[in-house]
Symmetry: C2
Subunit: 107 residues, 2 copies
């Protein structure tokens, strides 16, 4: 599983974001998240993990710390450890982004 | 610097790949690399760092372990700690990819 096409790992889930893991190492996790219209990830933080989102399709409203911005394909949204972050999809289209976290979450 | 558009950080460098840092946390580094036609990153490995590439523009021949594949936009190339990896751009067009490493390299 060294080579992965994110388009082979898309989906949609009723009621909450669809998440697929593309790569899990000892040091980092790479996943792809799909948010249907109206779905979101509430603002939260990880005390010891750095995280970034990278938008591939659609548009979302991302929060990091006190900043809130609408981001589309090509935008990276970076949340250092200890900084609040979240996202909502207020559009009529699917929002797809990479999600990377280091170190990876347990489980 | 929570929000970054990778297109604002592209460049070209004579003789070797152009590299820009998009985010450096304590736990991970996110950068963008631009390889002109003919440029490459020789096969190498990091004993304790997981790494992935994610292709944004162009096409490259990526090696991970014993696998060699031509990859384009949407492909993630994942090199766990201790596994050889590298890339060459044998095309006539620029190759652009995200590069993430965890933990980040020193310096």
């Amino acid at each position: 599983m060294y080579f992965v096409d994110y388009r082979d790992h898309l989906g949609i889930r009723e009621g909450k974001p669809f998440k697929a893991t593309l790569f899990r190492g000892d040091q980092l996790l790479l996943g792809v998240n799909c948010l249907a219209p109206g779905q979101g990830q509430p603002v939260h933080m990880h005390a010891n993990q750095d995280k970034f989102y990278f938008v591939l399709e659609g548009e979302g409203v991302f929060t990091v710390g006190d900043e809130v911005r609408s981001c589309g394909p090509g935008h990276a949204i970076c949340a250092p450890a200890g900084v609040d972050h979240g996202v909502t999809n207020d559009t009529a289209d699917r929002l797809v982004f990479l999600m990377t976290m280091a170190p990876p979450p347990l489980g």
